[in-house]
């Protein structure tokens, strides 16, 4: 066994029959740890590269075994449930092993490449029938590139299509190493203004834009990646301005021309709200609602105007068109935005 194969990855979740992380039916692997810290992040538990503990109230039976087990005395049983002192908790996970209900959960388990591959090949027939495969997502998978590279190689060797879902904030040589084993590159461009980008995500976008250009050129000059999708989260009060969308569009037109197979605007989603609570974090977007459908439609138009050669589409849940009390007929599902209108 080589050194690289012996390496372990820290994985948050493996999601089978994922239909939202690239073409076809996919198994998505969510890696723990991200170089950015977007204010709106849907997966706040994926930001820290360290293992974390969370407690699920609905699963707990109040037996208190976790409190007894904790070697750091980081847990306390209160009338409101288990309180985790995160300053003391080391994420050792002993409490999660003792918990009879799995209410105490360890976020970020270690996986070896062979074990993970064994899990990922299980849905091969569904991948084959749908043009799907495995998506490495996160967090930021590229942050664990020493693990990802042998993983991607092994999946390629087994004939399984791969996708890398990246924020682009990675050393160029990391991308250069991974891209030959990536069939589909899902690349986020969130905000075109470097100042705002820094404010929203913790880093400016210089490296991200530079890597986007690199990836697009790589795609044109190498057999892989075969497909490049740009994804832009539409976040209310942040990235949802026509200026931003037009700016990203201009960038795509000027620098990525001919390499982008799809540009997808992804509507903000607030279903993650309770994750922040569980992690003991405040969320800047706790009060934000899904965006209006009309906004997505108008931004898609802006996008199309800025990058006319690019296949633009939008996805995601928008604000409910009406309250339940009103008697307007519900929207027919088929009348929704088709997945891609390019």
């Amino acid at each position: 066994m080589t050194h690289a194969e012996a390496k372990q990855g820290r994985i948050l979740q493996i999601l089978r029959m994922s239909t939202e992380d690239g073409p076809g039916i996919r198994t998505s692997v969510f890696f723990k740890g991200c170089p950015l810290g977007c204010l709106w992040c849907h997966n706040p538990e994926s930001i820290s590269p360290k293992p974390q503990i969370q407690w699920l109230k609905t699963s707990c039976i109040g037996c208190g075994l976790c409190v007894e087990t904790c070697p750091e005395k980081a847990l306390e049983k209160t009338p409101d449930g288990i309180v985790i002192n995160r300053l003391v908790c080391t994420g050792c996970g002993l409490c999660t092993e003792e918990c009879p209900t799995t209410a105490m959960e360890l976020l970020g388990r270690k996986w070896s490449v062979p074990d993970l591959v064994r899990e990922l090949v299980k849905d091969r027939v569904y991948f084959d029938e749908s043009g799907g495969g495995v998506t490495l997502s996160g967090g930021e998978a590229a942050l664990q590139h020493e693990f990802c590279l042998p993983l991607l190689k092994e999946l390629r060797a087994k004939g399984i299509s791969t996708a890398l879902d990246t924020c682009g904030q990675a050393p160029q040589k990391t991308l250069a190493a991974l891209l030959p084993y990536v069939d589909v590159l899902l690349y986020d461009l969130k905000e075109i203004d470097p100042e705002k980008h820094k404010r929203f995500t913790g880093a400016d976008n210089a490296k991200i834009l530079e890597n986007a250009v690199f990836a697009a050129r790589f795609k044109k000059t190498h057999p892989y990646p075969k497909t490049l999708w740009i994804r832009t989260p539409v976040i209310p009060g942040a990235t949802d301005t026509p200026e931003n969308i037009a700016g990203i569009g201009r960038f795509i037109r000027e620098h990525l021309e001919g390499a982008v197979d799809r540009w997808e605007l992804c509507a903000f989603n607030h279903l993650c709200r309770d994750k922040y609570k569980r992690l003991g974090l405040n969320w800047a977007f706790a009060g934000a609602q899904p965006v209006e459908k009309s906004l997505m439609e108008s931004l898609a138009k802006v996008a199309k105007g800025a990058a006319p050669e690019t296949n633009v589409c939008w996805s995601g849940a928008t604000r409910l068109a009406k309250s339940a009390e009103s008697k307007e007929p519900a929207e027919k599902p088929n009348k929704r935005q088709p997945a891609c209108a390019g």
């Binding site: 239909t19 609905t58 027939v125 569904y126 989603n269 993650c272 027919k332």
Partner: protein, 836 residues
């Protein structure tokens, strides 16, 4: 209180119905308010010892146990006497029965045509005298109702959590294709020539009696059609509307030909099919329990194609079919005033569409689509229950049509059957039972399911597909106690509690068991025991039926009966298995996994401590219960280790099942997995189980993972099911291609999807790809349900039962129970309005 959650759910509505069909459908749904209905009428020989109502037919319907006396008595009280033929009492029982049923339906039950109806054959639900002599009646009473009779044995078996068994009716596909090809005239002629070939000794014996009875029965459809023909002619004369009068005249002409003569066009063929089918229900005195049509889009196609060629409009063929659909639903009228529950909620006249033909050809045709359109336009409607056969090369157009129907009905208005896996099971059955001359590579594609999903061959096969329903979990209970019930049985009718007795084999005291394998051995011993016990129970009703309840009309439609001069109830069908359906499979597997995990791997308790926790229904043992529920491995997650034990459980009971056959009728046992509604009801009877389930919670359904155990999504669920059925042969040499299937009967599998999977064309393609993947990796049959707001609301109230519930709102997945209440409400609203 009206909250934001009181959202209206959008239900599928029928569409594109003509005035005629709209009226008939609306009329049907008026239910008990209808002036006309097809409620049982009862007919007696008038003797003081008469018996009406063969209660054993209902032994597999626990809801009716408390009603057996009432039903038997009230049918008798309501019965009208039939004037008997002067020689009636000189005849054999089977001849009496053939004559009596025919006399009742042709000459006693009134004939009616509903306004606008294009098919004749309205009332068919009857309860007829069993035509017993005094001696027969006395013998039957003792065998059925005596102290150790069939009823008492059945009740003990059910009360103690073993399950149920009984010789029930239906559950086969009569030879409709042959009937259409040669007409009853041809059947009658064949019976006559067989009879004429008998020696005088044979004629005087049971063979002669059977053939004479069948000859009588074979004229029943002709004589009934004659009645309806006269009625149509009368109505046509009185009819003022010229168009309707012409329809009635055509109906009269149709009835002048069919079903005695072979049909010459589509209308005649559907008319013949309806009368031939409905009279099976008449003959068996049971409304449509799994009396299935088989591959109607195949055998009706020549008539369809010819009629279209002769100028019949395609819409008119659908109009005729829609009338057929209304007729099939009137089966439910049998006990209409009891309400729609229990047995009255599902009669299962299954109709099969599409599927493989010879040489791997796909058999989808335009009639397949016409019938699917009829279903789509009539839905929601219950009968006949459609079943679409898919295989690796099913056409894209068929996938598109069924996915659209699933989307508009929010759940599949049909069952999907999967050919390769199913055919592998049929081939295995042929090999196991030496039937390779009847089921082989050249004809196995002709199989079709009956009832719910049970695979059989067509026209020559009765395999008792719901006759034996055994709770495998009972063997875990007995292994934990060394062969005794965990809890004493309390009879709410008498208020008495029975003492716990040694019932199963005395397997070793669990306190002495050092290894998991020792426990497994005890489980295996108890499994052998409960199967034997079920076989013994079934023998009681099987032997009584064979002696006392012939169905000569049905026997005419099943190959083998005429040749052998033997009734179908005596094992006359050429393929005559009886099926042992395993109930509680996943609960059993998960309980064994939990025993292994808790006692032998983690050593958190001993076997006697576990048994104590179960006796206490987990009260005071909540931590142990939580570990059993949440920490022990579970079947249904594509976890190779857990599924390996599941396969071991499967192999054990399959091997044991094949070893048995009925003594009275020589029918070999074959394994299947269907648990109808028993998994719900028996959850209140069986003690708490080691998987963490409390007494009163549902057991697992058929081959599905336990409720809530399906945490890894639909693909993992399907893979687990395929694996425990045998998966694929490693050397590529399976029983059909590389497929293996240890359950020839098939296994019921249900998966609930998020409706967002069908929200746009791209996602519909993903869903189609899932179905195609299922043909490769999954089971024999699949029912597709869609998550609905009701289920989500239940998940809010009982999060512990729904930890697997992943909601997918575009671009985001979350376990529903981990989302706060406010956002849960929003998810419910999105699902209600299909806004994802």
């Amino acid at each position: 209180m009206k909250t934001a959650l009181a959202t209206e759910v959008h239900l599928k509505e029928p569409k594109a119905l003509s005035g005629r069909i709209q009226w008939l459908r609306d009329y049907y749904f008026r239910g008990t308010e209808r002036p006309w209905n097809n409620e049982f009428t009862c007919w007696t020989t008038g003797t003081p010892w008469d018996v009406i109502y063969n209660e054993m037919t209902f032994y597999i319907v626990p809801e009716t146990y408390t009603l057996l006396n009432t039903l038997g008595a009230s049918y008798l009280q309501a019965a009208r006497p039939v004037s008997l033929h002067p020689d009636f009492w000189k005849w054999s029982l089977v001849e009496r029965r053939a004559w009596f049923v025919k006399e009742a339906i042709v000459n006693c039950v009134p004939q009616e045509i509903l306004p606008g109806d294009l098919l004749a054959g309205a009332r068919f639900n009857i309860q007829t005298s069993m035509c017993f002599t005094k001696e027969e009646s006395r013998a039957w009473q003792k065998l059925v109702k005596g102290k150790n009779g069939a009823r008492a044995k059945m009740k003990w078996f059910h009360d103690h959590g073993y399950g149920n068994a009984g010789a029930t009716s239906g559950h086969l596909i009569p030879g409709h294709e042959r009937l259409l090809q040669i007409g009853w005239k041809g059947v009658h002629a064949e019976l006559m020539s067989r009879y004429n070939a008998l020696s005088s000794t044979e004629r005087a014996a049971s063979k002669g009696a059977q053939l004479r009875a069948m000859m009588t029965a074979s004229t029943m459809a002709r004589d009934l059609a004659g009645r309806y023909r006269s009625l149509c002619e009368d109505l046509a004369q009185k009819e003022t509307d010229a168009v309707r009068a012409a329809e009635l005249r055509t109906m009269a002409a149709n009835l002048a030909r069919v079903p005695w003569e072979p049909p010459t066009n589509f209308w005649e063929a559907v008319q013949a099919l309806w009368i031939n089918h409905m009279l099976v229900m008449t003959d068996e005195n049971y409304p449509g329990a799994g009396v299935s049509f088989g591959r109607a889009d195949q055998y009706l196609y020549p008539y369809y194609e010819k009629s279209l060629r002769d100028g019949m409009q395609r819409d008119w063929t659908k109009e005729i079919l829609k009338c057929f659909w209304v007729h099939a639903n009137t089966a439910y009228d049998a006990m209409i005033r009891n309400g729609n529950q229990g047995i009255t909620a599902g009669f299962g006249q299954l109709i099969t569409l599409s599927g493989l033909g010879a040489d791997g050809r796909d058999m989808t045709n335009d009639l397949t689509y016409a019938i699917l359109e009829v279903i789509d336009e009539m839905s929601p409607i219950l009968e006949p229950k459609p079943n679409v056969r898919l295989h690796r090369n099913s056409p894209e157009e068929l996938y598109d049509k069924i996915v659209d129907m699933i989307e508009s009905s929010q759940g599949a208005p049909f069952l999907l059957n999967f050919d390769e896996r199913s055919m592998a099971g049929m081939m295995l059955e042929a090999r196991k039972a030496g039937l390779a001359h009847l089921i082989h590579e050249g004809n196995v594609h002709e199989y079709a399911p009956v009832g719910c999903l049970e695979n059989t061959m067509v026209g020559n096969d009765r395999s008792g597909t719901v006759d034996n329903n055994l709770n495998l979990l009972k063997a875990v209970e007995l292994a934990l106690t060394g062969g005794k019930d965990l809890l004493p049985f309390y009879d709410p009718m008498t208020g008495k509690t029975e003492a716990i007795l040694q019932d199963g084999p005395k397997t070793p005291d669990t306190a002495s068991m050092q290894t998991w394998e020792e426990f497994w051995e005890a489980y295996a011993t108890q499994t052998r025991y409960i199967i034997q016990k079920c076989v013994d129970l079934y023998e009681t009703s099987e032997s009584i039926r064979a002696r006392f309840f012939p169905t000569p009309y049905l026997s005419c439609m099943v190959e083998g009966c005429a040749e052998q001069g033997m009734d179908v109830t005596q094992g006359g069908a050429r393929i005559s298995f009886t099926t042992l359906e395993a109930v509680t499979y996943a609960t059993t597997v998960d309980s064994l996994l939990a025993v292994k995990y808790l006692v032998f791997d983690k050593k958190v308790c001993t076997l006697p401590e576990l048994a104590d926790a179960l006796r206490a229904n987990w009260k005071g043992h909540e931590v142990l219960q939580a570990m059993a529920k949440n920490r022990a491995p579970k079947y249904g997650r594509d976890d190779d280790e857990a599924d390996a034990l599941a396969l071991r459980v499967m192999q054990l009971w399959c091997d044991e099942t094949w070893r048995h056959q009925t003594r009275s009728t020589g029918r070999r046992y074959r394994p299947g997995m269907l648990s109808w509604n028993y998994w719900a009801g028996d959850g209140y009877i069986m003690a708490a189980s080691a998987d963490g389930r409390t007494k009163g919670q549902f057991l697992s359904n058929a081959i599905c993972p336990s409720n809530g155990a399906d945490t890894h999504g639909p693909t993992a669920n399907a893979n687990s099911v395929g694996k425990v059925l045998g998966g694929k042969a490693k050397d590529g040499r399976g029983d059909w291609l590389d497929y293996l299937n240890v359950l020839p009967n098939g296994a019921s599998h249900t998966i609930t999807f998020n409706p967002s999977i069908l929200r746009d064309p791209v996602h519909k393609d993903k869903f189609k790809a899932f179905l195609k993947g299922y043909t490769l990796n999954g089971g024999t049959a699949l029912q597709i349900n869609m998550l609905d707001p009701g289920m989500l609301k239940d998940a809010q109230d009982h999060p512990e039962n729904y930890r697997h519930l992943l909601v997918r709102i575009t671009g985001y997945n979350a376990y529903f129970t981990t989302v706060g209440r406010e956002l849960q409400n929003e998810v419910i609203e999105r699902v209600s309005h299909r806004q994802f």
